[in-house]
Amino acid sequence: MPENNDKLVIAGREFDSRLMVGTGKYADFPQMVAAIEASGAQIITVAVRRVNISDRNKESLLDHIDLKKYTLLPNTAGCYTADDAIRTCRLAREAGLSDFVKLEVLGDERTLFPNNEELLKAAAVLINEGFTVLPYTSDDPIVCRRLEDLGCAAVMPLGAPIGSGLGIRNPYNLRIILDTVKVPVIVDAGVGTASDAAIAMELGCHGVLMNTGIAGAQDPVAMALAMNLAVRAGRLAYRAGRIPMKLHANASSPLAGLIA
């Protein structure tokens, strides 16, 4: 298989799948489990929240996730300051016993765009504390370079606003980011359908992270498989080397031997 030995390497850890998926917004746990399975993802994101003390009957997310099979990537979703994000990461490490964190520090509730100043501040502190930091960031090559310089294990620029499904809005910035940093570039947010994921991979991105694009589909399990195939197809196409675009036609069949 041409896919063999094409590993995604993050902080020295190897992954066969280049698709990372979230665990939010599913109708129920069985649907979530089936979708994750269909996606082929090995890294799955989770959020950190207060335990509901008054109602302890609810099932726990971790009762449904095989921790031998999946690497958990706790996020700092909902954090608007570096301090809150740092605090959340410390709790996540204690709860999950892993150093991997998806660091996001948001700028406002309407756009959910990153606050890059706070993001950089939090990344510096967390890296110093030994965390493996995967930051959700704007598709800004300069910010991505600064995150890499701080020691982030990857950069995760958005394709479009979180949950918007608008797809890859600025492929040129992603190409500049790919040209600027050496760490893996993972498109995080904005993917709405399979072709969006394929486009990200065809650009040369190293992976794609999504949640709403799968969980919000009418059939999340089918969409998870579609994303699995799209990420693999896009990666294969990138590695295969596409033909240059030409304005005019170029016949596929030989001109010699025509009957007339």
Partner: protein, 65 residues
């Protein structure tokens, strides 16, 4: 005695963090605990007695992106 747990006031008997978690029906392996804004390592749950005025945060993983 009175403590604050996840932002809400609670009145409890003196006991350890470990015993309090069990009393609440919480599996200590599945959560992380902050005591007065400092992470409390899991190994310290049994040996840490709650005191009047303590503030506890108990968090776990939920679905998210």
């Amino acid at each position: 005695m009175n403590i604050t747990i996840n932002g809400e006031a609670a009145s409890i008997e003196p006991l350890s963090v470990q015993d309090y978690l069990i009393q609440l029906g919480i599996d200590p392996r599945r959560v992380a605990v902050e005591l007065n804004r400092e992470i409390l390592p899991k190994g310290a749950y049994p040996g840490t007695a709650l005191k009047e005025g303590d503030s506890l945060e108990i968090v776990h993983f939920v679905g998210g992106g």
